[in-house]
């Protein structure tokens, strides 16, 4: 005997569990005065290079920095970042293509947040899935390198829309690959109107001072976006 199905209203966000956890994390981070900056990009856009540079420079300035780094399989990134001598922890995600709030919560479990000024979270290289998962960060940077082409924002509008700052990396290669900067900027502004955008190269040092100053200003004012 078949019955007529009964309609039941649910109205639940599918990612409610992650969102609640992310909110808890954000409150903990704010309570402890930690600026949490997450970094997303395609594989190979220069997340680890930028992060290694940032950790080294900030440590040199006497800031207490730490990093979590997500990767599918290897611990190579954590080893690279450890050269900065900052506390670094690798989150090996296995087959999962993004970090979620629970992975962050477990990773920071044995850290004293009050001892950290800036915590960086390097997401798995992927411009799709990380966009949906709030990690409790105060600032999300999306990186695109000049070798990827100017239309990256148009191809992945959602990740640009969830990020706060766009950073164009490997600017030292811009001429070689005939990178059209005005067009890239225009595409970023189309998908995320008003987005703060920076261009830099950690290899030559172009633009890095402005980028570091920007992060420091966020730290001083503890501006949570």
């Amino acid at each position: 005997m078949s019955t007529v199905p009964r309609m039941v209203e649910v109205r639940q966000n599918v990612l409610k569990a992650n969102d609640l956890l992310a909110r808890e994390l954000r409150e903990r981070f704010e309570g402890a005065g930690v600026l949490v900056v997450s970094i997303v990009s395609t594989p190979g856009a220069g997340k680890t290079a930028l992060l290694e540079y940032t950790l080294t420079r900030m440590r040199g300035d006497g800031l207490r920095v730490a990093a979590l780094v997500g990767d599918l399989a290897t611990e190579n990134d954590a080893r690279r970042l450890a050269r900065s001598q900052a506390p670094v922890k690798q989150i090996v995600t296995g087959t999962i293509c993004h970090l979620d709030a629970d992975m962050v919560r477990r990773a920071i479990d044995d850290w004293t947040l009050e001892d950290i000024d800036v915590l960086f979270i390097e997401n798995v290289g992927n411009l799709v899935c990380p966009s949906t998962y709030d990690l409790g960060e105060s600032l999300r940077l999306v990186l695109m390198s000049v070798t990827e082409g100017e239309d990256k924002p148009l191809k992945y509008p959602t990740i640009f829309n969830t990020a706060d700052v766009a950073v164009i990396t490997k600017m030292d290669l811009a001429d070689a690959v005939e990178f059209d900067l005005p067009s890239a900027r225009q595409n970023i502004q189309a998908v995320r109107p008003g987005m703060t955008t920076m261009e830099l190269s950690v290899k030559t040092g172009i633009g890095v001072e402005g980028y570091l100053e920007f992060l420091l200003s966020k730290l001083k004012h503890r501006v949570y976006v």
Binding site: P5, P157, I159
Partner: protein
Amino acid sequence: MASEEAARRGSSHVAAIHLKLGALSGVVKDALTFSFEIACQGTALEGSQLIIEDVPVTIQCSTCRAEHATNTIQDLRCPRCGGTETKVVRGKDLEVVAIELEEAEELVS
């Protein structure tokens, strides 16, 4: 979520799930539809229907105050005044709106 809800309400089978899917949710409809059937196998949702309501992006412009529905997610500037201070007010949805439950068959004593 749906099978928990079904169990809580004493139903053994979910006939359908009604989902709101925003254009900026970060979820690809085709991928979701494809994986839905596989994910349902062996659960209370086996054979259920996934009914998706697409939610286009609506932006609100802080310059001219108007709300605009857009048919693209590649240009979120205000279509009226070109303003760049826009806020996404709808279109990030990934929400289970309702589920359709089949009642557990009554026990014949």
